[in-house]
Amino acid sequence: MTAPTQPRAPHWWQVRARSEVPGARGKFTWVYLWGAPLRAMHWVAAVCLIALAGTGLYIGDPYFSTGGEASQHYLMGRMRFLHFVAAAIIVMTGIVRVYWLFVGNKFERWPALFPITGKNLRHVVAMVRSYARMTPEQQPHFVGHNPLAQWAYTAVYVAMAIMVLTGFALYGQSNPGGMIYVLFNWVNAAVGGLQNARLLHHVFMWFFFIFVPVHIYLAVRSDYIERGGIVSSILTGGRFIPSDESFEDYEATRAVTSEWPAAGHPEQRP
């Protein structure tokens, strides 16, 4: 005898149709945040950063030696070459970013880099509190970066600038009197010698090793909790926000761009 089988409730990790997920219902607005140059810059820089870290670790502390005759190998030479090429490319992305600080939208322009008003600073505290207490429902809502995230990204730009300055200061030494040397040798004097420039370059490498995992984690986490598609915004340029929610940094008209269940769907009929 077979009893009529109840439809099994899905496990929490199982994929479900959108209509089965209550939290995903409602009206959404798609907002465009990041211009194409910014997105391209982000990914080019990400690839360069990986190349720079990998080669930089070897240059700073060659973790293995080659055997045989020196004439048969060029390991350190190749590492340095890759390092310099990746550095040149990342500097170019930096130039694009600086240009975009002046022509981008309000989320991309330079004032966005410095959320220093009292309200913003209170939001930084609120963000820290909500991360620490696991209370995402209490955190202030932002369409773009929340002030805490923005300060972290501003710190990345500062760290990047220090890397570029000390990097060029070290690079210029092989050709004293050359252009790079003339433009950047003052950095060595400013930090008290070449070895200190080398140390700074090394210390800020660790800054990136700490920043990158935290950055990826918090982006994925916020996507998981808010379901706004924040991770894909760095690919597509935009994200969804609930049309009826209010945001600290967004006032525009809330034209509904996406709705579930869609108009005409059986579930929507009264």
Binding site: A9, Q173, H202, Y217, Y224
Partner: protein, 376 residues
Amino acid sequence: MYRPSAVPWSPGAPLGQHLEERGVSRRDFLTFCTEMCAVLGVAQTMIPRVAQALQDIRRPSVIWLQLQECTGCVESVLRTAEPTIGDLVLDVVSLDYNHTLMAGAGHAVEQALQDAMNANKGKYVLVVTGSVPLSEGGIYTMIGGRTAETILREAAAGAAAVVAVGACAHFGSVQSARPNPTGAVGVRDIVKDKPVLVVAGCPPIGDVVTASLVHYLTFGRLPEADSEGRPLFAYGKRIHDQCPRRAHFDAGQYVEVFDDEAARKGWCLYQVGCKGPATFSPCPIFQWNTRTSWPIGAGHPCIGCTERNFWDTMSPFYGRLPGVSGFGIEQKVDAIGAGLAAGALAGIAVHATATVYHQIKRRKATGELPEEASHG
């Protein structure tokens, strides 16, 4: 071998005549001039001019002050197993006043110094080794009852050219390393109204001093210098860019400890703290003791002694990077960085677990997830 003191240089005689009296052949003399041109990086066509200028010079007055120092520079500059013509030039030009080489002592030599300065006012070359201590009124170095600073200021005022020889005269060397108890400074910190040529190094290479003097005697001015005052012909390139071990550096072949196989094979000393990549000096080319050897040639990493404040900035001498203080003991930056990065990863893992746990609870509360979901 030339015998430095067999024939004294009579005051009126030109150098050419003096060398001849000492048994230096014309050929040897021209070889020396050619070498000097190569060292100075001037064109071959200048050799006759250098030779002419050198053989015509009358004995120039050189006053050599030794302030707060260890005499090592004088040893390096004047002592070699076999004196070269360059040593002879140095030897003969530096007789007016030099503590180490003077036979006399006491008030007589201090008077000799005054006499030499007065007689050659505006014409003598002043060579200085040693730093100038400024703390507590400069009492840490007194000669004849006067402070090093007073003596230096007085001697520099009447000098045609000032050459600071050695790391002490360059920036103060070990005396000026933190915490610098005597307040030691270099010559350029005191003498600001005339160009001071800095022959950097602890000790510097004698050839650089010789070549600088030859340049001065030939062209009537000091050679072109970098921002530290070091002559570019000698300090224009990093050791790392002229190093015979560089092929091993580029190939990725490094000495890890001083008695390993790699050390015996003469591989690159980068991993045992070589500061060649941060040091401008002609050591690989000029070398020491009549071109016998030099530190990296002998298997020891460069400690960067031609660079300003090298005792503070280049140490630890056997490590790649400066230590980071402020953690109780000096720590390697990599240990701190790796610790922080591991901490961040652990923090992420804990936070992520807590996030998922809370989110499931929250979604169950809103009915998004069925209460019994996990039991299926």
